[in-house]
Amino acid sequence: MDRVADRLSALGSTAALELRGVTRMFGALAALTDITITVRPGERRAVLGSNGAGKTTLFNCVTGDFLPTSGTIRFFGEDVTGFPPYERIRRGLRRTYQISALFLGLTVRDNVYLACRGVSRARFSMLRPSVNDALMQATERLIEAVHLTSVRDQLVSELAHGQQRQLEIALALAGAPRFILFDEPAAGLSPTERRELVEILTALPSHIGYIIIEHDMDVALRVVESVTMMHNGRIFKEGAPQEIESDPEVQELYLGGGHE
């Protein structure tokens, strides 16, 4: 009966991502306390907060790197709370990492190809793909989309920091993503690279929603329609970017230091 109820509610549900009462303890330390968030499909949201607010832990719980101590996580209506990361990724969830998590011993092309392969069938095929293989072509398109064509045959360990960050994003765009978690994609980027990043984010198809953790307000508030503020592992405030920016409490806590 429960399963039927689950499926019915999944049909009616419109949320891309739904967290209910998610708590994550590390020993006695609560990294996340009672987080409840609902994100619509296609919605773009920023999660702001100081270091240690629990933003990355939140991402790790959503992707399954950590299991929440309590609470449930639904992805497009399906309860994925106990799923291993790869099962969530195969359902259309993607993420990028604050510190680039790339395959340094492989070329740019191999990195992107693996990303495309991971969300396709026969991911452990023992046969080499042909040049005309659909995934090979998808790989080339994706490399082009993040402006890495000129370095596609180089080892990732040779790339400049900005290029590694672009590759980091490319890996999250492979396949058919439905929802992406961006963890500080602008970290360490030059102003020009930041502009390119904003372009890439705003050019994403409108059905792809995302949550972005970003300290650079110029980037964060330009690419989202809603903002969640976190503090000490709790949700502290939610609203539109303008509301958050002008909120006196928020200004005092997070933006104040910079303005005074």
């Binding site: 992707t63 790197d65 291993p84 990361p85 790869y86 990724i89 195969r90 993607r94 993420r95 990492y97 998590a101 790339l102 395959f103 340094l104 011993g105 492989l106 070329t107 092309r109 191999d110 990195n111 190809y113 693996l114 990303a115 392969r117 991971g118 969300v119 026969a122 991911r123 452990f124 095929s125 023992m126 046969l127 080499r128 793909p129 042909s130 040049v131 293989d133 090979m136 596609r152 045959d153 180089q154 080892l155 360990s157 040779e158 890996l171 492979a174 396949g175």
Partner: protein, 363 residues
């Protein structure tokens, strides 16, 4: 682990100088002298007599194939497994147990064409189960758990008389006779070994650029990210152990046909460590390194004794020479002899244009 990481860092350093563009690109076609080597191996029976043909070159290719299975796991998967020789030995024992031998009370007397595949399948099962245990660990713990499996198997063969015939082992194991040829005569056996070694070598090369091998290299570089790309990392690792076990098993079958006997001494712990030495000395980042390491090891093992006696030392200290050689090579080149060669080659090309522009895709 750190050894492999260091080797790869050095590789990256080379690449930064614009010399290498693909670490997995070591293949016959890019090295003109490789054709010469292949030709030499093919006409070897014309050059070498029985002793050199089997005791040096045949043994090198067998040992190299077992080391290749470790290279596949360690170089591509970042998993240093010390049980590869144990798997080879297990396959050898199974050939003896299911096939024909002098110990009629133990051997079931199956024909070789039934006993050999059975041995290989069981070896793969052994490797897969061992791998399933080992993938729960990382780095030094993988080494420990696989070494423990190797040690356990050694003591088990010593004490089990019903199947493994205890410390006596199994003797006079029959070798195949097919098409009127006795495949254990020197020349036929040499070509059999060469064919199996070449098959394994090219299979590993091919796989390194197929999705399975690429995914394994992804797991080596960043397992967490692989999971975040939709890969079941542990399944990939266990499958790699299964494939490596097949290669090790093939080496083990050849080994037992070579000596026609097998005893616990063949699967002793120091034999397991020899395989690590072979792979590291040759260069654990390239398939060909396993065979280069095996050649150096066999040469040292065969001639170090005579050499030591000649310079007035105890011949039994030949392992000292092997140890010193190992130390020197690892000290000067963390990616083994093949790394030394590549650095020398790049130095020759320094200032030249970038090697191979693009093109080296998945095709």
């Amino acid at each position: 682990m750190s050894l492999i990481q260091e080797a790869r860092t050095r590789e990256g350093g080379l690449a930064a100088r614009g010399a290498v563009s693909q670490p997995a690109a070591w293949s016959v076609t890019e090295h003109p002298w490789a054709w010469a080597l292949a030709a030499l191996l093919l006409i070897m029976p014309l050059i070498a007599n029985g002793f050199f043909l089997i005791e040096i070159f045949g043994t090198t290719l067998i040992l190299g194939t077992i080391a290749l299975s470790l290279m596949f796991l360690a170089g591509y998967g970042g998993m240093v497994s010390l049980m590869q020789l144990t798997i080879a030995g297990f396959a050898g024992y199974m050939v003896a147990v299911f096939g024909v031998s002098g110990n009629a009370n133990i051997s079931l007397g199956w024909p070789w064409w039934l006993a050999t595949p059975t041995a290989l399948v069981l070896a793969m099962l052994f490797g897969t189960l061992g791998g399933a245990l080992a993938v729960r660990t990382e780095g030094i713990y993988t080494i420990m758990i696989t070494l423990a499996i190797g040690a356990a198997f050694y003591y088990f063969t010593n004490q089990n008389w019903a199947i493994f015939n205890g410390h006596t082992g199994i003797n006079t194991i029959a070798t195949p006779h097919v098409l009127g040829i006795n495949w254990r005569t020197d020349i036929a056996f040499y070509y059999l070994i060469l064919a199996v070694a070449a098959l394994c070598y090219f299979a590993v090369l091919y796989l390194s650029r197929a999705p399975f091998g690429l995914a394994l290299q992804g797991v080596r570089d960043n397992p967490r990210r692989m999971a975040a790309l939709g890969f079941n990392v542990n399944a990939n690792r266990i499958a790699a152990y299964a494939f490596a076990a097949l290669i090790a098993g093939l080496g083990g079958v050849l080994q037992v046909w070579n000596y026609r006997q097998i005893s616990p001494g063949s699967v002793a712990v120091e034999r397991c460590i020899d395989i690590l030495i072979v792979a590291v000395v040759g260069g654990i980042t390239r398939p060909v390194g396993a065979y280069i390491g095996a050649f150096i090891f066999v040469i040292l093992r065969t001639f170090a004794l005579d050499f030591l006696v000649k310079v007035g030392l105890d011949g039994n200290r030949f392992r000292l020479l092997i140890g010193l050689g190992f130390l020197v090579i690892v000290l000067f080149s963390s990616d083994g002899v093949i790394g030394l060669y590549e650095r020398w080659r790049k130095r020759g090309q320094a200032g030249g244009a970038r090697s191979r522009p693009g093109g080296h895709g998945h095709g």
